[in-house]
C-alpha cells in the first residue's frame, strides 16, 4: 500500500477544511487518498509546463453586465433560513475567545 499522504497530513488537511476526524478515519482516508493520488501519477510525470491552462472551456473571460440596479433578496428573505438571527443580522457564537 502506497502512502503518498500520511494520516498526520490527512489530519492537517482536515483542519484546513474545518473537519474533525477520528484516528480511524484519518487512517482510512490516508489510504484512500493515496490510491487516488497514485492514479494521478500519470499526469504528474507529463512534461507540459509550457501549456496554457484551461479554466473555461469556451474561453469566456471578464464578462460584465450593464451597471443597472436590480432588486436582490430582501433582508427578510436573506435571513429567512438563518439558524439564528438578531437585530436583522446573522447571529453567531463568539468570534474571539477561548475554545472550550
Amino acid at each position: 500500500m502506497s502512502s503518498r499522504i500520511s494520516p498526520k497530513e490527512v489530519a492537517h488537511v482536515a483542519m484546513l477544511a474545518r473537519l474533525s476526524l477520528t484516528d480511524e478515519e484519518a487512517e482510512l482516508y490516508a489510504s484512500q487518498l493515496s490510491s487516488v493520488l497514485d492514479h494521478a501519477s500519470d499526469i504528474e510525470s507529463l512534461d507540459i509546463h509550457d501549456l496554457e491552462v484551461t479554466a473555461h472551456p469556451l474561453g469566456l473571460t471578464n464578462r460584465t453586465r450593464m451597471d443597472i440596479v436590480v432588486a436582490g433578496l430582501s433582508q427578510r428573505e436573506a435571513l429567512s433560513q438563518a439558524p439564528d438571527e438578531a437585530q436583522g443580522m446573522f447571529s453567531v457564537p463568539p468570534v474571539l475567545g477561548e475554545p472550550s
Binding site: 499522504i5 497530513e9 490527512v10 488537511v13 482536515a14 484546513l16 477544511a17 474545518r18 473537519l19 474533525s20 476526524l21 482516508y29 484512500q32 487518498l33 490510491s35 487516488v36 492514479h39 494521478a40 501519477s41 500519470d42 499526469i43 504528474e44 507529463l46 507540459i48 509546463h49 501549456l51 496554457e52 491552462v53 484551461t54 479554466a55 473555461h56 472551456p57 469556451l58 469566456l60 464578462r63 460584465t64 453586465r65 433578496l73 428573505e77 436573506a78 429567512s80 433560513q81 438563518a82 439558524p83 439564528d84 446573522f90 453567531v92 457564537p93 463568539p94 468570534v95 474571539l96 475567545g97 477561548e98 475554545p99 472550550s100
Partner: protein, 490 residues
C-alpha cells in the same frame, strides 16, 4: 414506457383531450405508489403541482397559449432550487433549507407550462456514480431493484425510467446525467458547458457542472433543451448563442456524416457493452454514415485530471456550508468550533473525502503539481478532441464500461467507483456536449446506452445522430415485476 411522451402530453393538454390536472394526478399517484420501492423522490409536491395544473387548465379554457410543455410533469434533481420546496442536495447539512429563489431552469420550464411535481434523490452534492451516497438512502434501478440506477442523478433517471415523469432534470459534472441514463435505459443529455444557466443549481465543480434533461425519447430531450438553453445575466458563464432547433434534426439524413468510434473508451469496457456499440455503428453505416475508429490518447488522462480538478473546486464551493447563514448549525463555544462541528456532522464520507482531496491539491506546495497540472491536461484533452473533429463530425463510444452494478458492489472502493466515469469525464473537461441514447440490453436484460459526442456548441449534429440511433435501437428494458405491478395506469 408506461407514460406518453412529454410531446404527446403537451399536445393532448393543448387540444383539451386530457386536462393538465388529470395528468398531474396520475404522475403524483405513481410517484407516491413507487417511491417506497425506488426512493427516487426526496419531495413530492402534490398541492403545488395541482395548483399549477389548474392554472394551466384555466389558461386553456380561456383560449390562451399554455406553452410547449403544457401540463407536463417534471422532476428536478434536488440540487436545483424551486421556491416552496426544500433543496437538500442529498445532504444532512442542507436538510430543511427552503431556497428563497427559483433556479433559472425552473422558471424557464414553468414559463412553457411544465409542472414541477417533485425533487429527486442524488449522491450527496452530486458526488458519486451510484446514488448510494445520499444521506437519505440509495435510489434503486427500476429495471432491477438489486442494482444501482447510476449517479449522481440516480433519482431523476429512475423516475423517468419508471414512467413517473416523462422529463427530469439532472446535473452532469463528470457523467452524472449520461451514466445513470445508460444504466436505467433512458435518454440523458449533457449540453455544451454554458448552454444552460446554472443559476439556482448548487455548485459542485463550477468549471464542469452543466444541467441537462432525462427523457424517454430523443425528441423530448431536444424540446427540453430548446426550452432551458440560453444566456442568463445571472450566470456569467452562460453562452449567448442560440441553440437552434434540435427537434428539427429528427429524420434528417446522416448520409455522409463522418462518425468516429473512440478507441480509448472501448478498451476496458465489457464485451457486451462494446458489442452493442459495434451494432450501433453498423446500424449507422447502413444509414449511410462513414464510420471509422479513431484514437484520442489524451482522453486517457481524463480520470486523473478530473479527480484533482473537481475535488479542488468542490472544496472551495463547499466552504460556504459553515452553519452561519443557512442549513444545519451545531453550536460550539465559538465560531470556529461551530464551523467544525457543523461540517463534521453535516457532510457524509464521500463529500469529506473529496473536500480533503481538493484541499490537499490546492494546498501550498502541491498546487502546481496537482491543480495547475490538471488544468493543463484539460488543454491537452480539448486539443485531442479538436484534432479528432478535423477527421470526423461526431464521435460515439460506450457511456459506462459496464451495465448497472449491484448495490454495495463498489461503495467500499472509491477508486473503483471513480472508474465508472472514465468514458464520460473527458467531455466535461473539454466542455463539449455528449448524450446517452438507450440502445440495447445485455444478456441479463440490463440497459446499455451509446454515447454520442460532438464539438462545442454542435448539439444539432449530436441530436441528428441520436435520432438515427434511436431508430435502430433494439430492446426496451422490462421493469422489475414489483414496479410494473404498482404502476397506476391512466
Amino acid at each position: 414506457m408506461t407514460t406518453m411522451s412529454a410531446y404527446e402530453i403537451a399536445e393532448s393538454v393543448r387540444d383539451q383531450k386530457v386536462t393538465a390536472t388529470s395528468v398531474i394526478e396520475r404522475s403524483i399517484s405513481n410517484a407516491n405508489a413507487l417511491n417506497p420501492k425506488l426512493n427516487a423522490f426526496l419531495a413530492i409536491d402534490r398541492e403545488g403541482a395541482l395548483e399549477a395544473a389548474e392554472r394551466i387548465d384555466s389558461i386553456i379554457a380561456k383560449g390562451g397559449s399554455p406553452g410547449r410543455l403544457a401540463g407536463v410533469p417534471i422532476a428536478l434533481k434536488d440540487n436545483m432550487c424551486k421556491v416552496g420546496l426544500p433543496t437538500t442536495c442529498g445532504s444532512k447539512i442542507l436538510e430543511g433549507w427552503n431556497p428563497p429563489y427559483d433556479a433559472t431552469v425552473t422558471k424557464l420550464l414553468q414559463s412553457e407550462g411544465a409542472i414541477i411535481v417533485g425533487k429527486t434523490n442524488l449522491d450527496e452534492f452530486a458526488m458519486g456514480s451510484s446514488t448510494e451516497n445520499s444521506a437519505f438512502g440509495p435510489t434503486l434501478n427500476p429495471v432491477d431493484l438489486t442494482r444501482v440506477p447510476g449517479g449522481s442523478s440516480g433519482g431523476s433517471a429512475s423516475s423517468v425510467a419508471a414512467g413517473i415523469v416523462p422529463i427530469a432534470l439532472g446535473s452532469d459534472t463528470g457523467g452524472s446525467i449520461r451514466q445513470p441514463a445508460s444504466l436505467c435505459g433512458v435518454v440523458g443529455v449533457k449540453p455544451t458547458y454554458g448552454r444552460v444557466s446554472r443559476y439556482g443549481l448548487v455548485a459542485f465543480a463550477s468549471s464542469l457542472d452543466q444541467i441537462g434533461p432525462f427523457t424517454s425519447s430523443v425528441m423530448d430531450s431536444a424540446i427540453t433543451l430548446e426550452v432551458i438553453s440560453g444566456f442568463d445575466p445571472k450566470d456569467s458563464t452562460s453562452y449567448d448563442q442560440e441553440v437552434g432547433s434540435l427537434s428539427a434534426q429528427r429524420g434528417l439524413s446522416i448520409e455522409g456524416l463522418r462518425v468516429g468510434i473512440v478507441t480509448e473508451f472501448i478498451d476496458g469496457s465489457d464485451p457486451e457493452v462494446v458489442g452493442a456499440l459495434r451494432d450501433a455503428a453498423e446500424g449507422l453505416a447502413r444509414l449511410g454514415a462513414e464510420v471509422v475508429e479513431i484514437s484520442i490518447p489524451e482522453t486517457k488522462l481524463g480520470l486523473s485530471a478530473y479527480y484533482l480538478i473537481a475535488p479542488a473546486e468542490a472544496s472551495s464551493n463547499l466552504a460556504r456550508f459553515d452553519g452561519v447563514r443557512f442549513g444545519l448549525r451545531v453550536e460550539g463555544s465559538n465560531i470556529e468550533e461551530t464551523n467544525v462541528l457543523t461540517r463534521t456532522k453535516g457532510f457524509g464520507a464521500e463529500v469529506k473525502r473529496r473536500i480533503m482531496l481538493g484541499t490537499y491539491a490546492l494546498s501550498s506546495g502541491y498546487y502546481d503539481a496537482y491543480y495547475a497540472k490538471a488544468q493543463q491536461v484539460r488543454t491537452l484533452i480539448k486539443s485531442g478532441f479538436e484534432q479528432a473533429y478535423q477527421r470526423v463530425d461526431v464521435l460515439i463510444s460506450p457511456v459506462s464500461p459496464t451495465t448497472a452494478f449491484k448495490i454495495g458492489e463498489r461503495s467500499l472502493d472509491p477508486l473503483a467507483m471513480y472508474l465508472s466515469d472514465v468514458c464520460t469525464i473527458p467531455s466535461n473537461l473539454a466542455g463539449h456536449p455528449a448524450m446517452s441514447v438507450p440502445y440495447a440490453l445485455d444478456s441479463q436484460g440490463l440497459p446499455i446506452g451509446v454515447q454520442v459526442l460532438a464539438p462545442a456548441l454542435r448539439e444539432d449534429l449530436m441530436f441528428r445522430l441520436a435520432f438515427a440511433l434511436e431508430e435502430s435501437a433494439s430492446g426496451v428494458p422490462t421493469l422489475d415485476p414489483s414496479i410494473k405491478e404498482a404502476i397506476i395506469h391512466g
